[in-house]
């Protein structure tokens, strides 16, 4: 597995240089490489070839030196990379996790997010417009983003309807977090009344759906595109909100 990673992250060069290359270099060439190495290391910003060349006699092929140095550092913990036409040492991409420190913040879901989550749970698959219709207020993009971040909801597909809005549903993580064995364990009207959460004199005809999180797409759902990011539905709020207006 480690093998795979090293191979995968090895920079552009097709083949690693044989390890005895340095030994074969002339002392002079080695000195030049040392100089380029030290200059790039100490520089406070990426250096271009002109800046590096100023430390050598005119005509020195700095580019070749750079490429040799790059090859030397290929597959190492630090790589020599070109950024914006200049050269700099950078931590190897696959090791970037070393430079990250996780700061976990415990946050509470906003009221709007809780409501939206509950509606998605009971009414899934449900579009944003439908959520807004049920809630009676518009739902900000941020609210759904936060819910997606929790991992408790997911985009399921697209409703086969004008605008092809994304449908949302709950995930397995939702069940796990809230301790439900299945989505059918969400309490119904009578249980909510019994728990004192719903007023007992609700208007007649008040109904709650029986939730269903089966992953199969419904008849009126299409699959999400291969690349949902490109046609990110959350951005075009206006289009979707149109569908959610009271009719």
């Amino acid at each position: 597995m480690a093998e795979d990673e090293t191979e995968r992250t090895r920079p552009r060069l097709p083949l690693p240089l044989p390890s005895n290359v340095i030994a074969l270099q002339s002392t002079d060439r080695r000195e030049k490489l040392r100089i380029v190495e030290a200059l790039l290391f100490a520089a406070a910003e990426p250096l271009d070839e002109t800046a590096l060349a100023s430390h050598f006699v005119p005509g020195e092929d700095v580019k070749v030196l750079l490429e040799e140095l790059q090859a030397l550092y290929a597959g190492r913990g630090v790589n020599l990379v070109r950024v914006a036409g200049k050269w700099a040492f950078r931590t190897a991409e696959d090791l970037s996790f070393l430079l990250e420190k996780q700061a976990v913040e415990q946050r509470r879901l906003s009221r709007a997010a809780l409501e939206t989550l509950a509606i998605i749970a009971y009414h899934q698959p449900v579009t944003r417009a439908e959520i807004e219709e049920i809630r009676g207020v518009s739902t900000s993009k941020g609210t759904i983003d936060v819910l997606l971040e929790t991992g408790w909801i997911k985009m399921r597909g697209r409703r086969r309807a004008p605008g092809r809005p994304v449908t949302y549903g709950t995930t397995e993580a939702f069940l796990t977090h809230f301790g439900f064995d299945s989505i059918q364990d969400l309490p119904g009207v009578n249980e909510l009344k019994g728990a004192g959460l719903l007023d007992s004199n609700l208007p007649p005809g008040f109904s709650m759906p029986s939730p269903d999180d089966a992953p199969d797409l419904r008849e009126d759902e299409d699959p999400l595109e291969d690349n949902p990011q490109q046609e990110e539905p959350l951005g075009d709020k206006d289009d979707e909100a149109g569908g959610g207006e009271p009719t």
Binding site: G179, D199, F206
Partner: protein, 276 residues
């Protein structure tokens, strides 16, 4: 060696380089005027003594304290002759050296207990000079080190540790269900209001009465006529209330006749035109 020269440049006093420094002093001694002027440059009597000791051109370990004391005293008297101002601590040192000199020259008297002998005092002075000299050398060596940010360099572009903020969200079932219940109850109230459209308006009641009464010819109890609307309790009240008002209105218009045998008895209505 080249490093050495560089550092001498960096060291403003130039004391790091022993030979150059000695040269300076010798120059000063050759020209008394300049030496005296340069007294300003000495950092105290010990520094001056060390400079004078250098002129003995011997290892500090073999220095003649007696000769040094004399050199110092000569220097001070020369300065005085030139009426130069001499800081107090130089004079204190001169007095002490004069005392030391006498102690060294005179045969050792049986001294009081604990009082150091002339030789001990001389050794003490020699030690202090050596120690100061050693510290000077050390400071020069220190400044000649390959120093960070001057000779050797750390990474110019250190890559900072990124703080990846990860939020974990907390919500419990109770909050979730409460939020759902409350918002559903809230919107349910709204939809009940919409249902009020099915409440009979006066106009609706009139139209309904006209239709229903059209099918009867004789007196009929109002609630019997409306029977089909009175099953649903929701509708019963509004149907009765609106029909009653409509009945009164239509009676006033002369279209209907009403009759009631006693209070709270059934209300009978009939179509007036038929009766006529």
């Amino acid at each position: 060696m080249s490093d050495h020269e560089t550092s001498a440049d960096n060291d403003p006093a130039g004391r790091g380089d022993a030979s150059a420094w000695e040269q300076n002093v010798r120059l000063d001694l050759d020209d008394r005027e300049r030496l005296v002027v340069d007294v300003e440059g000495f950092e105290g009597p010990l520094d001056l003594l060390l400079a004078l000791a250098r002129t003995q051109k011997v290892d500090l370990a073999k220095i003649s304290v007696l000769a040094l004391a004399q050199q110092y005293l000569d220097f001070i008297s020369e300065a005085r002759r030139l009426r130069l101002e001499i800081a107090a601590d130089y004079l204190v040192m001169a007095a002490w050296l004069a005392f030391l000199k006498s102690k060294l020259l005179l045969p050792a008297e049986p001294s009081e207990a604990g009082e150091p002998t002339g030789a001990e005092l001389a050794a003490l002075l020699a030690f202090r000079l050596k120690r100061l000299h050693a510290m000077r050398e050390a400071s020069a060596q220190l400044m000649n080190r390959k120093r960070l940010g001057r000779d050797v360099f750390a990474r110019g572009l250190p890559e900072p540790i990124r703080i990846v903020r990860k939020s974990t969200y907390d919500a419990n079932v109770y909050d979730l269900l409460k939020a759902y219940s409350q918002q559903r109850a809230r919107t349910a109230v709204r939809s009940m209001r919409m249902r009020q459209r099915t409440v009979w308006s006066l106009k609706e009641a009139r139209e309904e009465l006209e239709r229903l009464l059209g099918m009867t010819v004789d007196w009929a109890p109002l609630d019997r006529i409306l029977a089909e609307f009175l099953v649903e309790p929701e509708l019963r009240r509004t149907a009765l209330a609106s029909s009653f008002t409509a009945t009164l209105e239509m009676t006033r218009e002369g279209k209907l006749e009403i009759r009631q045998t006693k209070s709270f008895a059934p209300l009978f209505v009939r179509w007036r035109e038929r009766a006529a």
